[in-house]
Symmetry: C2
Subunit: 444 residues, 2 copies
């Protein structure tokens, strides 16, 4: 039996933030990882996805300026994009493990499983700890339809040697939409299928509608209200059938309909940790129903978006909680979400839908940005923002943005909201002109 | 004689900000413009310049990704770029004038000249006012060398029907550097000449050196320590001669060696307004030596950079001063400056040079960014930042940045500095990941 102050299960961004934080405070820490050190984000998530997106964005900018100053559109070289991605991801697991070892943090590789006496088994090793942090994240959700074993996941997509001429993505959540944007830009015929009329349901409906229009204009075959009921292999392809009887064939089919908490191996019931279909139940101190067991990141059943910086924030919170005994409930800053692509969709703070529900409290400005200087300059094909302003303070408290640079706009607004700035306060700053940020002075 | 509460001479961004502000407070206001309504920025400055820059930036992004996911580089179509620019600028003068008239602000078009009795003559009109604001800006500086009449200015460049195969720019200030970036990207052979070894002297020397390396790599013939002594027409070209006896020919030659205050027509001495070679002398309330005459924007002899948002800020300050009698000295927020191009150079707050001079007060982090995620992702050919941190507070107080997206980085840091955020405070925000802004969490 090996004894630790804290054992962290999951070597992704959240677990690592906690591991380094707790180790830095002198605690005896171990990290357990069953798969790739570094976790989903750097190996199979945000980082590699956005490396592939670099060529997509650059192509998008050139496309928009056709007839407005540029001739010809650069083509995407899938193999080179993938080589660039791999040059990045291949270093992650060994580099992460090396970092932990160099720091003096114990590491265990293998599937972790709790025992009824509260200890943990990882392969040949038995671990015990005063406190535990579960940070195992989520895994791609597999569809329960005939032919489900034929389906690939986002993990497979992000490591394709060659991109097939025709692919289908089942599920238009942010993973499906982003992979559609990448594959379509790289020359694949893409079918993006969603079971109801409301893809990306966490985002503003009007802007999602605009985004679907853009994807369609980029050549994506967007199929809403479409339930895939079966997949069968036909020669070298896959044939899909829907509830309404429609069929088509694709070279590859990916299940992109959400992700599920990675908790099955852990046997959490043995240590009285309650779980739900959405993950591990925690209180507002990230404490599970077993008071020595904490959870953070994507594996947690909480309303915060499942995002890398949220997991890191929670890792730092647990570091503080487990070292200085402070047990203030966790309080989150505003959390931006972005769907990347040639056209990006981003959201932050109070949503337009929440604002509309409280008209005495909030005002929503719904602005078509395509005629604004910055968007006219880059010939942005679709740019729109909904800015939520608090009636009493005049502060900007939320926004939903669609544009080729929504990630930048939402980050500017993150600073604005985080610092409780009113539109008048923005006018008291001097921003580089003319830029996306200097446009914020027009949000009155 | 027409009487006004305030007459503003100069219908550019600063004058207009004051005009609308004062008019909005019920004052009887007139604006005088001798040239294009709207002034330099929207007609012949920042706005049209950066419209032409859109194609340059998009090309730069594609170039960087050659071999990293993109094949072929889009070419710049000068005529289409210029058509796009003109579609923007052609509406400016009439739109500006229309706006003033619709608002009910008096307008006069013509050269303004003060009389010894303190009144103003504009063509046939005689104006008198309780207070005056001079906002006439600057004009391109003409070189005093043999052949000076053969030289074009930035005004001419920004309206070229066709771009010649070979051009020379005399003066590597920000105008020269930006025009060099545009012309070179559009396929012209560019000679960029600077009289000493220190172009862009308001910017960090190391980063300027890196930028000159980038311009050279892009194909610009950068000639430092080079004094042009004469220009002569030879056939359809122009031959330049330098102090060291070097000669070359170019299709067109542009004087880009700075700008001078546009005050010659005003006869300011007649109303006891003191001027210097750098413009109109004002106190810290923007008041000239004649207490009824104020000045703002580029025409003023003050250390602030000559930038559109600075003029607007001063226009709002004078609105407050002249309406509520408040006469607090003007206090500026931090002011970012950007040199645009495929590689951008930006600066804000305490400069690295100022910081190095006070080592007990400041610390400078000089970071090569090319291996950082965001810059690796876009294959940014040159990315570097110097971050100035106040030793006592831990706050970021200044920065100098070189990267293809320096304008964004410097605007993020503008919010950071303006809100007195420490590096620890940045870690308490959650920014969209992975983005340029989320990289700020590494500035420790």
């Amino acid at each position: 039996m090996q004894e630790f102050d804290v054992v962290i299960i999951g070597g992704g961004p959240g677990g690592l933030a906690a591991a380094y934080g707790l180790h830095g405070h002198g605690l005896n820490v171990a990290v357990v990882e069953k798969d790739l050190w570094g976790g989903t984000c750097p190996n199979r998530g945000c980082d590699p996805k956005k490396i592939l997106m670099a060529a997509v964005e650059a192509q998008g900018r050139s496309e928009a300026l056709q007839g407005h100053g540029l001739t010809s559109v650069p083509q995407i070289d899938w193999r080179a994009s993938m080589a660039k991605k791999r040059a990045y991801t291949e270093k992650i697991p060994s580099g992460t493990l090396e970092g932990l070892k160099t720091a003096g943090i114990a590491t265990f590789h293998g599937t972790a499983s709790f025992n009824t006496d509260g200890t943990l088994t990882v392969g040949e090793d038995q671990l015990n700890a005063a406190n535990w942090i579960i940070a195992t994240g989520q895994e791609p959700r597999l569809l329960d339809i005939p032919g489900k074993d034929l389906l690939r996941t986002s993990n497979d997509f992000l490591d394709l040697d060659t991109l097939p001429a025709d692919i289908t993505l089942i599920g238009a959540g942010y993973v499906g939409v982003e992979l559609a944007a990448i594959a379509s830009a790289a020359g694949s015929r893409v079918h993006l299928v969603h079971h109801n009329r409301r893809p990306l349901r966490a985002f503003d409906g009007d802007l999602v509608h605009d985004l679907m229009d853009r994807l369609t204009a980029e050549g994506v075959d967007v199929k809403l209200d479409t339930d895939v009921t079966a997949v069968v292999a036909v020669d070298d392809q896959y044939q899909l059938t829907t509830a309404s009887g429609e069929t088509w064939t694709s070279d590859l089919v990916f299940a992109t309909a959400g992700r599920t908490p990675a908790i099955d191996d852990l046997h959490l019931a043995r240590i009285d940790v309650v779980t739900t279909p959405h993950g591990i139940a925690v209180n507002d101190r990230l404490q599970t129903t077993n008071h020595h067991v904490f959870a953070l990141g994507d594996v947690v059943d909480r309303p915060q978006p499942k995002l890398t910086p949220v997991a890191g924030y929670e890792g730092r919170y647990l570091t503080a909680t487990l070292t200085n005994g402070a047990a203030d409930p966790i309080s989150y800053p505003v959390i931006p979400s972005v769907v990347y692509g040639k056209t990006q969709l981003a959201q932050l703070g109070v949503t337009p839908a929440e604002a509309v529900a409280e008209p005495e409290k909030y005002h929503v400005n719904d602005l078509d940005l395509t005629h604004w200087y910055s968007y006219q300059r880059t010939a942005d094909p679709a740019a729109r923002i909904k800015v939520v302003v608090d009636q009493e303070s005049g502060n900007i408290v939320g926004a939903a943005v669609l544009s080729s640079e929504a990630e930048q706009v939402i980050n500017y607004l993150d600073f604005v909201i985080q610092n409780h700035m009113s539109t008048a306060d923005i006018n008291q700053t001097i921003l580089a002109y003319p830029t996306l940020a200097s446009d914020l002075t027009y949000f009155n």
